[in-house]
Each structure stands twice: as C-alpha cells, then as structure tokens.
C-alpha cells in the first residue's frame, strides 16, 4: 500500500485558497482605507465639485493650491493652530516622559506601602474621559488664572496620558532583572548612572511605545481644547478643523486638506517606528 505524506500547508503559498485570502484581505483594507482616499482626493477638488451630484471619483479640475490658500483663510489663523498643536503635543509628551519614567522605575523596583493602591489610582484616571472633566477643568483653570493658555492644555494632556505611560513603562522596567541594577551598582554606578546607562537602554522599546501613544493622543485631543482654549490663535488643529464646517456653509476642500496636514506627522511617526512599536506592545505578554 502506498503511503502518501500529507501535503503541508505552505505559508504564503500559491493556490486558490491563498488567492481568496489575499482578495478578502485587500477588500477589508479597502473598506478602512476608503475614507482616507476620499479625504486625500477631496482635498484636491474645487469646492463645487465636492458638492456636485452625482459626485465624481477623481477631480476634473485638480486644485493643489488648496494647500496654499488654507493657511490664510478667514475662518481661523491656521499657521498659529499648527504651532499650537505642535507646542502642546511636544511639551505634554516631554512632561509625561519626565514624570512617568521615574514613577514606573520606582514602582517596578520597590515595594512600598500603598503601592497597589497607587497603581490602581493611576489606572482609574484613565477611566475618566476628557469630555466628562472639561467643564470642571475649565472652572479650575479660571481660578488658577491659566485658562485659555498652552500651559493649561499641556497639563491636561499630560495628566490624561500619564497613567498609560506609567503602566506600559512599569511592565518594561519590571521585566529587567533586578540583578542587572545591582551589578551596575557594585560596578560603581550611582543610582542615576545605573538608570541612564544600564536600565534605560534596556527599556527603550517601552519608552518609544509610551512616547508614540502619548504624542498621538495629545495631537488628536479635541474635547478639552474646545472648552479650555477660547482664543482662535491658541486652538490646536483638531479644534480649528471644526471652523470650516458650518451650519449653512462648509469649506469641505479645506476640511479635507487640513485633515491631511493633521494626520501626516502621526502617520509618518508610526511608519518610522512601526517595527519597534509592535515589539513594544507585545513584550511582556509572552516571555
């Protein structure tokens, strides 16, 4: 009797099954990519074409100058909005990094009374949405006299993202064996030198993960900015965007173009460190 070895399914192999899977994958990808395509294409259309019925797929008349004119529209001072977004996001991210790194290091390395309560409290802040707190924060900042300032939004963004950063970095620090710290200390390193030259390089993927998530969250933050930042010039892009969509009239070509400008840095950032980010997200879950 002839014995035939069972055919081993090949990864990425040819055949009808692989073709079917690829087609299905492409279709799903298309569903998710379609809004972005519409956004990019729409940003190159003149306004009447966007509102035309039936709508066309590609612009009959390409208008790349949408990207030039949007910087000087009457609705909002867009260059200032961009600066606002960058300043708030960068400063909030740096603040989170400066506070979360030592907090995560300490909670991972030391047992102290109330450690669990502290960690749970940190987590609890994550459960409160900015929308819920916006009105309260507004009142608080009025009392402190920093309402409608970048500082206020830097603090708000840092506070909202701190818990995630502490938790993710905590697990990275906890994964570094304590003996490595001890070895460095015996080798003559001070606590700060140990952290800087030994521990930090080992938790680098965790730091990158925390930075990306924080930066993206700050960049996209909307609800609190809408309430707290009342001056046009102080508002970030996320709020400025709404100025173009009015009750009676909407400049859709600008809405699309600003959206492209707003997501470009985020997409770029993800693309640059996607590999490292994936490693960071899965680390700790499987040894």
């Amino acid at each position: 009797m002839a014995v035939t070895a069972p055919a081993r399914p090949r990864r990425g192999g040819r055949g009808p099954r692989a073709l079917l899977l690829s087609t299905a994958g492409l279709l799903v990808a298309l569903v998710f990519l379609a809004p972005y395509l519409i956004m990019v294409i729409g940003s190159f259309k003149p306004r009447p074409e966007i509102l035309a019925v039936p709508p066309g797929y590609l612009p009959r008349q390409w208008r790349p100058d949408n990207y030039v004119t949007l910087w000087s529209t009457p609705e909002t001072p867009l260059p200032l909005n961009l600066i606002s977004t960058v300043v708030i996001s960068v400063c909030a991210t740096l603040l989170v990094l400066a506070v979360a790194t030592p907090a995560a290091y300490y909670t991972a390395r030391h047992r102290f009374p109330g450690r669990l309560v502290f960690l749970l409290l940190v987590l609890a802040t994550q459960m409160l949405q900015p929308t819920v707190l916006a009105a309260g924060l507004f009142r608080e900042f009025v009392v402190l006299g920093i309402n409608d300032t970048w500082l206020a939004m830097i603090l708000v963004n840092a506070a909202f993202n701190l818990s995630f950063a502490v938790w993710i970095m905590h697990s990275f620090f906890a994964a570094v064996p304590r003996e490595i710290d001890e070895a460095a200390m015996l080798d003559g390193a001070s606590r700060l030198q140990t952290l800087r030259r030994v521990t930090l390089p080992l938790v680098w993927p965790g730091i990158v993960t925390a930075v990306i998530f924080t930066f993206v969250a700050c960049w996209n933050e909307f609800a609190a900015s809408l309430v707290i930042l009342t001056t046009d010039a102080n508002q970030p892009l996320s709020v400025a965007l709404t100025k173009f969509a009015g009750q009676y009239d909407s400049a859709w070509q600008y809405v699309f173009a600003i959206s492209v400008v707003a997501i470009a840095p985020v997409v770029l950032l993800f693309a640059l460190i996607e590999r490292r980010l994936v490693a960071g997200l899965t680390a700790g879950s499987v040894k």
Partner: protein, 361 residues
C-alpha cells in the same frame, strides 16, 4: 586584598513575626582565603553575602572589610565585585564593554581599560568573543564573562552567589576547578555561596554551614566531614549522607539491631536513654553471619565501578530504618538478600544529642 569579618551581624526582614534571615553571624575570613557559605535554601547564605555586598541592610552588628566598618557604605564604595547566579550581564553591551564598565565609570583611561579587559579575556579564554553581545554566547561563556567583569576590577573581595548553578553537570565540574585555580593565582579573598555541598567541599579553604540564619559550623572541609559539630552538619555534608539514627542507649552503648555502638562513659548522662548515632557509609562494612552486627535487607545497589553503595533497611526498635553502606564494587550483594553489617572502626562513630543535635563525643 583584605580580610572580611561579620561581627554579630543580623538581617531581620520586617514581617509578623520578623524573620531573622541572618542571625548574629560571627565569621572571620582571612586575607586571600576562599570561604564557602553553604546551606539548604532559606538558610540565609545568600542574604549574608548580599549584606557584605551592601545589597541588604545590616540591622544589627557590623560587617568589616579590611578592618573598615562598611555597614553604612554604598555598594560602589566597598571595593568588591560580585558574580551573580544569573550572571546579570548588561545585555546591550558587548563582552568587552561589560567587562570594562566598572573601570570606565572609575575614569580609567581608555587604553588601560582595553589592556586590562584583554588580559582578563586571555585568562578566561574569551579573546575571540570581546565584540559579541551576551545573547550570542553559550551559558559557559556568559559565566566566564561574569567572572571577567569581576576580575578586571581587581577588587579586594570577590563575592560569588551560586555562579555555577546554571551550567550543565560536566561544565560545572570543569568551571569549579577553573575558579579554584584562578582564585589561588589571584590570591583575592573570596566568599562563595552554594547549596551544593560537593562544590563547598572541593573549592573552599574553609566552609561555613548555615541553617535558618544561624551559623552551624565553620571549618576546613576535612574538619567538617570528620568532626561535624551537630547532627545537621553531619547529615548535610557528605554524599550519600551519613546514616543518622536515634536509637536506645544500653549499658554497653547505642543499640542498632544486633550491633552495639560503643559510646564513651561521659555520654551516659542521667536521664539520657536514647542517642543519635551517625555512621558514614564507608564506616560500615559487610561481615559474616556469625559475627555481631545488624541485619540489613538489601533494597538497591548503586554500582559506581570501584565502589558500590548498598541501600537497605535495618529493624531498629521494631521499625525499619534505612541505611547506606559502601562496599567493594567487585562483590556487591544482590537486592532482596539479607546481609550483616558491622562497624569498620569504633572511632568513626559520631554521637549526638537526640533533642538538641549537639555533638556528644
């Protein structure tokens, strides 16, 4: 180089009730000596070592290195180097960077760091691996890098916390000899922690046995083996272990089945009707059926070539007690047989108090 001393040093972990991990340890280690701390897990041997390293607090007493009280001194200022069980190499640094890290922190010129690292690498046969990262090294190589990291610093004391326990059996024996040779050549005071009594006996100039945080005995390997201070040390040192049995004390000595173990007069304290006797497997021999001795029912024979260990039971006080006897490897008895065993030499019997375990003879 320096001598080390523990001066009634204790480490008390705060819990309820507080745990005395190391309890009033008094121990002097001479300059250039190789001292091994041995004991079962939880005996406090690693804690004692970490107290010396400065990684654990000293709650009572003091620890001195070269006569200087280092109790409150930071680890980095104690001039010691430690080899960890997990090696604790810096994963992001090359072998050369790992070994030179301490010197670099100290501000030693780059050329000298390089020279000392190369010298240590030559000593440890690591020259070809200096640019590799730890993850691309084998277990044995990692262990040597950890040793190298300690050696380059030329510290006054080496501390080693079970440095061989992650190696396979063959490599462990080789590295054991290598470390002992290296220590002799460098002449650096070394304190070595292990739970393996064979390692302790073969490497140490002296061996300190710990149990539940208390020092049981500190002596040369021969001294520990030949004259254990109590029943715990007697049972812990030696492989296979000593036959330790608590038996009735008769007018002529301790009675083990038909075998009477002579016990000196001074042991016969009033009220003492039982004693714990200890006989090493090699202190027992097989004898003829007509001679006085204990009847052993053979259960298992371990043949090692030159010798064989016979495991079996002897009825003592109506209950079966396990015994091990070392016999000539050429004519071992078969399992299931009954043989008679007697003492080789009555001087080789150890007698302990059945309650306190203290040595009586």
């Amino acid at each position: 180089m320096a001598e080390v001393s523990y001066d009634t040093a204790s480490r008390v972990f705060p819990s309820s009730p507080p745990v005395r991990a190391v309890d009033r340890l008094d121990l002097d280690v001479a300059d250039g000596e190789f001292l091994v701390l041995v004991g079962p897990s939880g005996s406090g041997k690693s804690t004692a070592l970490r107290m010396l390293a400065g990684l654990e607090d000293i709650d009572e007493g003091a620890v001195r290195i070269g006569g200087r009280d280092v109790s409150g001194v930071a680890p980095k200022d104690r001039d010691i180097a430690m080899v960890f069980q997990s090696y604790a190499l810096y994963p992001h640094m090359s072998v050369a960077e790992n070994m030179g890290f301490a010197l670099k922190l100290k501000g030693v010129p780059r050329a000298e760091v390089r020279a000392r690292v190369v010298e240590a690498a030559r000593l440890l046969e690591l020259e070809g691996y200096l640019d590799r990262k730890p993850k691309s090294l084998s277990g044995g190589q990692r262990q040597r890098v950890a040793m190298g990291r300690a050696i380059v610093r030329e510290p006054s004391v080496f501390l080693m916390d079970e440095p061989l326990s992650n190696l396979d059996a063959k490599l462990r024996v080789e590295t054991r000899a290598h470390i002992a040779t290296l220590q002799r050549r460098l002449g650096t005071t070394t304190i070595y922690v292990t739970h393996d009594q064979v390692e302790a006996m073969t490497m140490g100039h002296r061996v300190a046995v710990l149990r539940d945080g208390l020092l049981q005995q500190c002596d040369t390997p021969r001294g520990l083996y030949g004259h254990p201070a109590n029943a715990f040390v007697a049972g812990f040192i030696g492989s296979p272990g000593m036959n330790l049995k608590t038996v009735p004390l008769g007018p002529h000595g301790a009675e083990v089945d038909g075998l009477t173990v002579p016990v000196r007069r001074e042991v016969h304290a009033p009220g003492l009707d039982r004693v714990t006797v200890g006989m090493r497997p090699e202190s027992l021999r097989l004898t003829g059926a007509g001679e006085p001795g204990a009847d052993l029912t053979v259960e298992l024979v371990e043949e090692l070539g030159a010798d064989a260990y016979v495991y079996g039971t002897v009825t003592v006080d109506g209950a079966p007690e396990r015994f091990v006897v070392r016999v000539d490897g050429r004519t071992p008895p078969a399992p299931g047989h009954r043989v008679r065993i007697a003492l080789r030499d009555t001087d080789e019997v150890h007698v302990f108090d059945p309650v306190t375990g203290a040595r009586l003879n």
